[in-house]
Symmetry: C2
Subunit: 393 residues, 2 copies
């Protein structure tokens, strides 16, 4: 038995964690662009990283540390991804850390922004040396790591165990053009004072990735910088694996859903629920095909219940399916039922009403077997084009 309580505030509410964000001159107009997470004791750390073959310099830099290393500092910049920058990109990270005035142990860097530009070392060093490591300003940190995000993404929970002990777990993250997960850097930093054993950290990170960040395809087709980092300072002296796993799942789900809802230019957060597939793998293939289909996304933007595009996308995904067992509905409004088109004016009007909502489900029951998966996506409109046609400028 345990209880998980959503809690107001940022990761700085967790005992021993400090953070802040400043303007170091990477973004124009005084926008925050450099932040840190500092722990006053050494933390166990683990992470899951991008599958992109061109891993960014900060990802390679992290992997140079010995397995099971401890750290007390994470430096995060936006506007420059330090990707495709080769050995000099890694050397620049060392330059940054060797120029900082603080006493740091195995410092970690994380970057997001434009690929293929050298890291502005001087700006970052002078900015970072102005940090106050004893400040607790999660709000500034959450803004400093944003790129095209419309709003900051944070989450915090307190977990109370049967014996009266408790621990906290919280997160700060940035998403991006989730309308096309391809290349959309997502960074997620999770802090906890739970006394989690080192060996549980990677296991629970990976166990929860599949239904959260993977469900928005971030890992499937992924940027050069994607990172989910877990820092544990163990200050609570308490831990329960089941409770921690569920709390971690909630934190990661919160972040994933915020990323979808904040897809570049997106107005709709849509759950693509595929049931009745041959197996869970085929359900996932079909659900992700739907969440990635341009023609589906533009129809959702147009609030057009164009279920033909839904069916055709499933068929194009080549999973086992049959139009005589297929059922398609928007929330509870069935528009196609086992070979029968249910789309008279009345039904079309009901479906159109569903599509006017900010959040709804597109449900496809393939009627083949028991496989199921839910992918999360959003609509695609003019704003997405506007943002991405001139992202560098």
């Amino acid at each position: 038995m345990f209880t998980i309580l959503p809690t107001k505030g940022f990761i700085d509410q967790i005992d021993g964690f400090f953070c802040d964000g400043i303007h170091a001159g990477l973004k124009p107009n005084g926008k925050l662009d450099l932040g840190f997470i500092y722990s006053d004791t050494l933390c166990d750390v683990d992470a899951v990283f991008t599958l992109n073959k061109f891993q960014a310099a900060p990802v390679k830099h992290f992997q140079r540390y010995e397995k099971g290393f401890k750290t007390n500092f994470v430096l995060i910049n936006s506007k420059n991804a330090n990707a495709l920058t080769g050995q000099s990109g890694i050397d620049n990270i060392d330059k940054v850390f060797s120029s900082l005035k603080f006493d740091l142990t195995n410092p970690i860097m994380s970057s997001t922004g434009v690929i293929g530009n050298p890291l502005p070392v001087e700006k970052i060093v002078s900015g970072a040396n102005s940090f106050n490591l004893s400040s607790k300003n999660g709000d500034n940190l959450s803004k400093a790591i944003m790129t095209t995000d419309a709003y900051p993404k944070t989450s915090l929970y307190e977990v109370k165990l049967e014996d009266g002990s408790s621990f906290k777990i919280g997160s700060v993250a940035k998403g991006a053009g989730m309308i096309n997960p391809n290349l959309a850097t997502m960074l997620c930093f999770i802090c906890t004072d739970a006394a989690i054993p080192q060996e549980d950290m990677k296991e629970l990170l990976e166990a929860n990735s599949h239904t959260t960040f993977n469900a928005i395809s971030v890992d499937g087709d992924t940027s050069t910088n994607d990172t989910v980092l877990l820092l544990a300072n163990k200050k609570s002296n308490t831990y329960n694996k089941e409770a921690f796993k569920e709390a971690l799942r909630l934190v990661m789900h919160d972040m994933a859903m915020l990323m979808v809802a904040d897809g570049e230019g997106a107005k709709k957060a849509v759950a693509f629920e595929v049931n009745g597939a041959l197996n869970d793998q085929e359900a996932e293939i079909a659900a992700k095909a739907l969440s990635n289909s341009l023609l589906v996304k533009t129809a959702l933007f147009g609030e057009d219940p164009n279920f033909g595009r839904i069916a055709s996308t499933i068929g194009a995904s080549r999973v086992t399916c049959d139009e005589n067992t297929l059922v398609i509905s928007y929330n509870d409004v069935i528009v196609f039922n086992k070979g029968e088109i249910c789309f008279d004016k009345a039904q079309e009007a009901k479906a159109s009403q569903v599509l006017k909502n900010d959040k709804y489900k597109v449900i496809c029951d393939l009627g083949i077997a028991e496989g199921k998966f839910t992918a999360y996506g959003c609509d695609l409109g003019y704003k997405y084009v506007e943002i991405n046609a001139d992202y560098r400028s």
Copy 2:
């Protein structure tokens, strides 16, 4: 030895073929929406069809005929795909043909348009019964089969053989939102008076698909209706396999390139040329990843030489690659060279100039081995969203 001469005109220039297009009331405002191809002798026929699991009724109807059947009539409608319409969709095609006043042998139907609407049998029958089978109006046919196409797509060649004999081969096609090949119906009807043996037809259709229609991903991720049909009436009494194969390749390449150039809202036709891959398969994976990447397409629309998105898309495609052997260029302007960023102001200006063109190459040499493939795509802009947000209306 043979010569292949591009020729003015339509498929109706080929001996024995007749065609026309009319307004049958499927499209608004008197637009042409129903057409036919008629041959005054029986033709050998073969086709390659969509790989979509939900094949449209006309595709299933064709496949009911016995292998090696002959035909003299193809009926083509736009605005309604007759897809997801089950057995009644096939029955409706039989209803149409049984209601026509003409003497037809194994008539074929082909449809494109909205999925999941019953075929308007009466309109099509009354329209088709007004056809004049002796008319030669390829211009009208090419317009009648258009959906979101901005312009008609036709091609015609005369092939002269050493012995002085000659034959013709021509085509009429319609494309669609090639910016996202997913669901974009493409129909291509190829007519010839070459005396091609039945057994060569499918072989040569498939042999030429890979570098033409497959290179624009139409077969990889495909609509419910995609069809490439080859009709041969043999009236020229001459044939040369090598010459026919090359002429067929030219016709199919012409149609594929016209489809890319006419991508919904597209202003740029871009060749994504991947060289130096581990093998041709990996080159194809990388090239198609580029031609399908939203972030690449929107950057091209913005005329932004954002080569970081090019590199990251290749890395995300998981093919064998290494930034220290990778070379990226826009036409002959190298922007990334084996780990070195070549992107000072001067070089960026040169690259930007290339991106102002209507047609150019994005060339990625992976520097791994000899594998190569060229995929064809286009940019993605506001117009694409506008077209697809209200396609049904």
